[in-house]
Symmetry: C2
Subunit: 545 residues, 2 copies
Amino acid sequence: MKIAIAQLNYLIGDFEGNVNKILQYVEKAKSEHADIVCFGELATCGYPPRDFLEFSHFIKNANESIERLKAASEGIAIVVGNPSVNPVVEGKDLYNSAYFIADGAVQHIQHKALLPTYDIFDEYRYFEPAHDFELLEYKGKKIALTICEDIWNIGNENPLYKICPLDIHIKNDPDFIINISASPFSYHHAEARLEVLKANVDRYKKPIFYSNNVGAQTEVIFDGGSVVMSPNGLIHREMPYFKECIEYFDLDEVMNGATENAQPKDDIMEIHDGIICGIQDYFGKLGFTKAIIGLSGGIDSAVTAALAARALGPENVWGILMPSQYSSDHSVEDARDLSENLGIKHDIIPIKGIYDEFLKELTVHFKGTTFNVAEENIQARTRGTLLMALSNKFGHILLNTTNKSEMAVGYGTLYGDLAGGLSVLGDVYKTQVFDLARYINKDTELIPINSIEKPPSAELRPNQKDSDSLPDYADLDKILLEYIENRKGPTEIIDMGYDAQLVRRILRLVNINEFKRYQTAPALRVSSKAFGVGRRMPIVGKYLS
Amino acid sequence: MKIAIAQLNYLIGDFEGNVNKILQYVEKAKSEHADIVCFGELATCGYPPRDFLEFSHFIKNANESIERLKAASEGIAIVVGNPSVNPVVEGKDLYNSAYFIADGAVQHIQHKALLPTYDIFDEYRYFEPAHDFELLEYKGKKIALTICEDIWNIGNENPLYKICPLDIHIKNDPDFIINISASPFSYHHAEARLEVLKANVDRYKKPIFYSNNVGAQTEVIFDGGSVVMSPNGLIHREMPYFKECIEYFDLDEVMNGATENAQPKDDIMEIHDGIICGIQDYFGKLGFTKAIIGLSGGIDSAVTAALAARALGPENVWGILMPSQYSSDHSVEDARDLSENLGIKHDIIPIKGIYDEFLKELTVHFKGTTFNVAEENIQARTRGTLLMALSNKFGHILLNTTNKSEMAVGYGTLYGDLAGGLSVLGDVYKTQVFDLARYINKDTELIPINSIEKPPSAELRPNQKDSDSLPDYADLDKILLEYIENRKGPTEIIDMGYDAQLVRRILRLVNINEFKRYQTAPALRVSSKAFGVGRRMPIVGKYLS
């Protein structure tokens, strides 16, 4: 038996486009004489469709997609995810379902049982969990069909759930397991996924065909990395990350378990590739091609520009240098060097004239006050307004260059440097931005060494340094990681040996700056806990603040 | 038996402050010889605490709050909501619980069974549903303790749920029912709440003591309106909306069912009072007192300023008039008249000089292009930057004046008129803004009639009118209501008799402008479906767009 896995990039709500793409890969699979071709979770409508699921018109479109797939299923079985209607009045209206379509008909539907409702996931908002589990039979093989999270409660050891679908399926002795997923990327996630698959195979001694979605859906990036695992636990194949593709597997060879073929792994490489995928899909799926970026000469905007140039092509990236009276000479030089190294267009628009005009109009109101954050922010917002003006005039999307450390402690100006349609580095800590810069420079110096080595500065007042108002990034990032990713409280972090006053100051800054993050662009998610949809915090509150 | 209901305003995460307040009301209740005093859902930590619940440090603080309440429970029983730890490994880590504390000890804990996971609610993200239901006995009375949603599945007719807690409780024949709630305001919600209580009383023939939280938590407003309903279905008492208070009820009198005493109801009055509550708590809980508002002479900024003046006092509201060369004379006059009527400070800062300076710096880049949205947005962003500069300098919070119709179709400039810390009218359709203006003017003309009667205009180019680019607001708002509040799809709305092309255009505008709403301030929620946390849509997608 020949089984194909097609890890594809879907566009949410684009039923026609998604089904056209699926049909194109069904034809490929047919021409390779595959018996079964597996697509991903909620492939017809794209994942996550969010509250579009609450529209009956949307669900009607999804069901019509299944009709189109039925018509194409002569001579091949199609495994595809689709939202299906719960016929029972009680409970949620929908199931998150896997359809097994062959010989012109839906042969089997298996609903998802374990509905992730944490971090970025809201599945219990929409879906009723499955309670029934039946194998399907096809061409003499018994198949256990599962959806994403359904294989993440091995032997019921995941405290979030109370049932383990495969413990039930296994009683009927399936020949193999198919899992269709929409499992989002974060660095380390591929390792976690392989461990989970291995634990399933160790427990059930059956091969698994795991088909994951690929591509970014706004800020959430799906990495593909579909897996075929042999019953002896060898990774028969781990498919590429961040790339649409189809591959074919002979069941006997998989059973045999003689070969191992996984992808190379490296955190910074994965973050680099994931962000490029995220930029490409944000632009491509919205129908845009060109990005505009404010270049300060610092490392964040340099790394953002380098990633954008790789994602969109240097000809589609426009760097704008906007020096003020507080900008150092080297800032402009570094930004100009960067643009030349990357081969991107760049222009210089000084902001002093506009800034002075703002101050002139505000003279009477600001009289008797001293220079403070108000004046600093006028500079940042002047730059934001210039960038948005060019964006509006010529149809570029402004890329936001703020990093996760700054987002965390609110070191940035709303409507100024926090402006932009997409935050490229908003889930990358400053110390990781340095690693990214070195990774980008591994073959040639694209990012000027000076941008990497000089002390970070916002340059909004004379001789300003980030270290004037922030702790050292090495310390800051470690404490932020414990609080944000690891959800440790102040006592636990202090007990790890960090300075108590510093910990309290940082946690307070994170909490009181929720209002800024609320109004900042979606940030490409590369960690296990990104700001945005996966981290839901009150703006108004008094906790550690 | 004397039962007190204390509907209080809690601050999320402020355990010390919340418990101090609860203790103060416990003392009041003791001095009135109450036997039982009821507080609200998750009163110790404030509702909704969102992802703070994922921090064990937060839960530890909650448990310590219960210790403080135990110490105060001599001679009185305290009913209070608190998150409690699920001792079983499987399932979610927490319960949303009601504690019955008396004689220095927790006498009974009832967990919540029905966990709303829709609209603004994420309860299944955190909580395990209750499966056990037991009455408690106190001073010879059997009491059924329930939490909010637990009474919203009367006779299991709510399709979202599969169990009905009171159907189970009633088998043990309670004397009365207590419900502690955090049930958020929207216009019509008080009516819905009374209907639900009536349906419960009709089914069970038992009195209900319903204690709701009051006050705003960022954008979500809790209206109080706690209810005591007699077994014959009469509203023995509906407590005030948007007001912290405690009231006392004699059980025999409630049983008797001889009196009815409800609050007056009116959609616009409730929206008016709800928004004032929302502004007061946003400022008060964040520790701010002063608001700044851009006054255009139009109705949205006029209504926003009037509401702010009522919420914060006119002495704390600062109106800034920022005319451009496209502003009509009457705009400045109307805004000045408004300021004088309201008694608020106002200043005029013309934007022409700054706008011209922006255009000067952009001359070379804009060469050969024609005036379009880019130039319009520079004006709006110049105003945004001026307002934020004053806000930053003097510690005002900028109030956003955009209405729901504009938010829906993206008629506004990000970082310009869409700037601000809190959106006052972002859940109020334009047609409702007119109603609000007339309501505010019911005694005296505070909002100049001219602001109400002139055709709406953004005044960003010569002789611009909203009607140049938008459909008539009366039509627009009706179609938006069907799509947003009523979640009807295009076919259903067209079938209602609306022009097909207009419907498709409007629904498309709503969907493609999700990126703007993502970066806009939280909007005080007054309807059953507000933009923001209760309406979760992808930015990147292709559905009706």
